[in-house]
């Protein structure tokens, strides 16, 4: 059952990436280390690597620190408010990276909201240059990856038993101590998972630094793009890829050594979490640190006026709520502010002026855009179907049967998430060129399926783990043959889960730029590629119109997916 998936990954992940890595040491004249000599000849490339690491680390830090309170609040509030909070996180999560980055260009521009507001308040007299520096890149990166950090931490926090902090209180722990000694250590696997997910994604990012950064914020993946698109220097692109891959693998190895990779798949709830592999002294130090943090927080809480007497001990504080809503506003506002601009006649200058549908007409009348939309839909649906067909049986196999080396298989299946997307994309470009698949829808579907299938497998595994197999046994005892059991019992119950993993795969493909960047162009471009070509050429209100459409489309998609999920949960 897992054979198609293994075949797919071998052909379109292992082989292309292997080819690319091989190209770095095997040129036209046989074995060579020339690309590596070039890489280390000057400090240029190492500087880029250092900048990449610096930006990624800063992004990770901000995302985890700012995301923690958001995830915490979502995990403790009631059902209704949870749905509201989650909607905003998901909306941001699913809004295209391109749209969000573009929105920041508009927002931070010379005539953007921030400059205009500051000037009208009399704080500054002439527009400040807020774009193309470290700060704008960091803002864009955090906006891009904060939702990922929140969702990753949330998955762990939701499994933390709410009675544990209460138990700590009855045992004499003040709120600060209960948080730092009990809740925080239990949420750490989530923090670590969020940290590594954000860091690894950030390292492979090029959209934000390319759109929001200046020369000094060039990141390593941008170098690879340059090598492939401008100089066609495969050997050197391969060498940079090796460097990037090594960094990522070192990070994962360190993570595994400290915490164990199994914490990432969510398979182990905190209750079953293996004791941390941190050795004695480190753990003791950590313990003491947490106790200290607890004591300090309690001191601070004591200083506050004790007006909280009538407060429900479970209710979140006003400060926390204010912080969370501010953060959600910051990550959602740029995209929303772009909507009025897309109907305005004043270009992208704030405040919007007049009302026109001109920009929407421009887009609709442009064959480039309409072709791109059609192609993206086609490729997205193709990817969704293929990923489901290949991923679901593999998920069944991994959950239902005892196969030797399960952990290794899982790691292999999840590897497309770990390997930086750029490396896969360049490798695929090279292999597709040999196979004549460049620019074809088939090639795109195959490439997108490689990166979407791990999400399908993970979602389906989670769904299957929650599925009560006794229902199947009951159906069989009532006379249903295996196929009838699947048709009448298993699939109807798993339907919502399958639908949501299909949507996940679809959305992944619909927003995929890296693979499409090399594999498509002109009239066979996908929507993100067309967006990218336009936005790197000029910043026009037509793009704001496209962004608005994408934003609304994603909002609807989440709404539908959420309704499906609730209907399934209500059963």
């Amino acid at each position: 059952m897992g054979a198609p998936l293994v075949l797919l990954l071998v052909l379109f992940l292992v082989y292309p990436v292997g080819q690319l890595l091989l190209l770095s040491v095997y040129g036209d004249n046989g074995f060579t280390l020339a690309p590596y000599r070039q890489l280390f000849a000057s400090s240029v490339y190492l500087d880029v690597l250092l900048i990449t690491l610096k930006i990624s680390l800063a992004t990770t830090l901000v995302c985890v620190v700012a995301g923690y309170p958001i995830a915490y609040l979502i995990s403790v509030v009631g059902k209704e408010r949870k749905a509201t909070l989650l909607f905003w996180v998901l909306l941001s999560f699913w809004t295209s990276f391109l749209v969000r980055a573009f929105a920041w260009i508009v927002l931070l521009g010379r005539n953007g909201v921030i400059n205009k507001t500051l000037i009208s308040l009399g704080i500054i007299s002439s527009p400040a240059s807020l774009l193309y520096n470290f700060g704008s890149v960091l803002v864009g990166m955090v906006n891009a990856l904060l939702p990922l950090a929140v969702l990753t931490m949330l998955s762990v926090m939701e499994n933390i038993d709410r009675t544990l902090p209460r138990a700590a209180a009855t045992l004499g722990a003040r709120p600060g101590m209960a948080f730092w000694k009990i809740y925080f250590p239990l949420s750490l696997p989530g923090v670590a998972a969020a940290g590594i997910m954000v860091f690894v994604t950030a390292i492979g990012f090029f959209i934000v630094p390319a759109l929001l950064g200046g020369r000094r914020e060039t990141m390593i993946t941008q170098l690879i793009i340059d090598q492939v698109q401008q100089t066609m220097n495969w050997g050197f692109a391969g060498a940079i890829s090796v460097l990037l891959l090594v960094v990522v693998l070192v990070v994962f190895a360190a993570y595994d050594r400290l915490l164990g990779l199994s914490t990432m798949t969510g398979a182990s709830a905190p209750r079953n979490a293996a004791p941390s592999r941190l050795s004695g002294p480190v753990q003791k130090a950590g313990d003491a640190l947490l106790a200290l943090l607890g004591a300090i927080s309690d001191r601070i809480l004591l200083l506050l006026p004790s007006r909280r007497r009538d407060r429900n001990p479970d209710q979140a504080g006003m400060g926390l709520q204010a912080f969370v809503w501010t953060m959600l506003l910051i990550i959602s506002a740029p995209t929303i502010l772009m909507i009025p601009l897309s109907f305005g006649t004043g270009g992208l200058n704030w405040p919007p002026q007049g009302f026109t549908l001109h920009w929407y007409e421009t887009v609709l009348n442009s064959p480039l855009w309409t072709q791109a939309v059609l192609r993206s839909l086609l490729v997205g649906i193709g990817t969704g179907v293929l990923a489901m067909l290949i991923g679901t049986p593999a998920a069944f196999l991994l959950v239902r049967s005892e196969i030797p080396g399960k952990a290794a298989w899982l790691a292999f299946i999840l590897s497309p998430i770990v390997v930086p997307r750029m490396i896969i994309a360049v490798g695929l470009f090279y292999v597709f060129a040999q196979m004549g698949l460049v620019g074809s829808a088939v090639g795109l579907v195959l490439g997108h399926t490689v990166v979407a299938v791990p999400y399908v497998v993970m979602t389906m595994m989670a769904v299957l783990r929650n599925y009560d197999t006794r229902l199947d046994h009951a159906a069989q005892s009532l006379g249903a043959r295996p196929f009838a059991t699947l048709r009448y019992v298993t699939f109807p119950i798993l339907g919502a889960g399958m639908m949501s993993s299909f949507l996940f795969a679809f959305a992944t493909s619909f927003d995929e730029l890296t693979i499409a960047l090399f594999a498509t162009g002109g009239l066979n471009a996908t929507l993100p590629k067309q967006f990218w070509d336009e936005v790197t050429l000029q910043v026009s209100p037509a793009i704001a119109a496209v962004s608005t459409c994408l934003f609304v489309f994603m909002g609807l998609l989440i709404f539908v997916a959420e309704r499906l999920r609730r209907r399934a949960a209500a059963r």
């Binding site: 038993d161 009675t163 544990l164 209460r166 138990a167 700590a168 209180a169 009855t170 045992l171 004499g172 722990a173 003040r174 709120p175 101590m177 209960a178 000694k181 009990i182 250590p185 239990l186 905190p270 209750r271 079953n272 979490a273 004791p275 106790a291 007497r309 009538d310 407060r311 429900n312 001990p313």
Partner: protein, 363 residues
């Protein structure tokens, strides 16, 4: 009487329109084992949360050893809670779990270690100190939760259906264990359960709750033999309830007339006042319903069903008099006695001392 260690005065709690606890007062004596018994939604868990400081009352006061703790946070009250799911900290060893409350109280390390070992001794699990909670069985986790509670000698220990997740045999064993620890330590215990048998076996007093208020408070014997209401009679053990009218009241008991039969008979009161002419229910426990071959007795009926549940044999009997509910008679199972047959006719009777008059609550 010893000064009460827990005093609850007019405590009440609403959740929106729902009255979780109507104004309620309750005194628990030092060293007493008091059980809050009742169906789900009766307010027993609300009461426990209020005492523990895990929820905040709308009005009323809570005093522990004469100190007002109504507005104290949970960590500042001298109480221990054994949670339904044990709430052991999964990331700490058993030892660290038990030492946690001592650490919070800044007990010196050596002393904490000594007392932790002692608590583990008390629950007979000294060998699991270095393990993690998930490595223990349900029964063992239960004991550790208990150990974590007794280690800091709180004035009161609250237990929220602590045995709910255990199987019958283990539950019986743990009941004895908890009783033993209660005896040895002399701690005040407030115990919540919906299991009436558990409440009967363990408690000094039972506080039976219904719909957010106390239905009856007393010793297990009080509640079982002198129920104040039909609800109490029904909730604690099986009972046969027959409608009747009071004819007269004297020093020894009541003259009554069974509604369905119009024959005079006697009953004893349940401690409350009755007036002549008042409609009442008469309760006869199954083991006090005397069955004999047909002829004689107050009533006659036919056997509908026979159930032998180990030590007891239960007979389900349909009275021949119209207007009477199905009755249950129980007596110790004896081997060799003549087997009962379904449809067999029997006469039924009871001693006047076993017929308890209860105000008719309209059930």
């Amino acid at each position: 009487m010893v000064s009460s260690s827990l005093r609850i005065h007019e405590l009440c709690k609403h959740y929106g329109d729902f009255v979780a606890l109507a104004p309620t007062s309750l005194d628990v004596a030092k060293g007493e084992f008091l059980t809050l018994l009742g169906p789900s939604g009766s307010g027993k868990t609300t009461m426990l949360s209020l005492i523990a400081g895990l929820a905040h009352p709308d009005a009323g006061r809570i005093l522990i050893d004469d100190t007002d703790v109504t507005h104290s946070p949970a960590y500042a009250r001298d109480i221990g809670v054994v949670f339904q799911n044990y709430a052991l900290f999964p990331h700490m060893t058993i030892e660290d779990n038990i030492a946690f409350p001592l650490k919070m109280r800044k007990v010196a390390d050596a002393e904490a270690r000594r007392r932790t070992a002692e608590a583990l001794e008390t629950v007979h699990l000294p060998h699991v100190a270095k393990r993690y909670p998930r490595e223990l069985s349900g029964g063992q986790q239960q004991r550790i939760a208990l150990a974590r509670c007794i280690v800091y000698r709180p004035a009161i220990i609250l237990m929220d259906e602590p045995l709910g997740a255990l199987d019958k045999k283990l539950r019986d064993q743990m009941q004895l264990e908890i009783k033993r620890i209660h005896r040895e330590l002399g701690t005040t215990i407030v115990y919540v359960t919906h299991d009436q048998e558990e409440a009967m076996t363990m408690s000094d007093r039972i506080c039976l709750m219904n719909a957010g208020a106390i239905e009856q408070l007393g010793t297990p014997q009080d509640l079982y033999f002198r129920p104040r209401s039909v609800f109490v009679a029904d909730f604690l053990g099986e009972s046969n309830l027959l409608s009747a009218t009071v004819r007269g009241v004297d020093g020894q008991g009541l003259d009554i007339v069974l509604t369905a039969q119009a024959a005079a008979s006697r009953a004893v009161g349940n401690g409350s006042r009755f007036a002549a002419g008042e409609p009442i229910k008469v309760m006869v426990r199954p083991q006090n319903l005397v069955v004999a071959e047909a002829g004689g007795g107050q009533l006659s009926g036919r056997i509908m069903d026979v159930m032998i549940s180990g030590s007891l044999t239960r007979l389900y009997i349909a009275p021949e008099t119209a207007g009477l509910p199905q009755l249950v008679a129980a007596h110790p199972t004896r081997s060799g006695s003549a087997p009962y047959e379904i449809g067999q006719r029997l006469s039924l009777g009871w001693h006047a001392a076993d017929a308890v008059a209860i105000h008719d609550g309209g059930i």
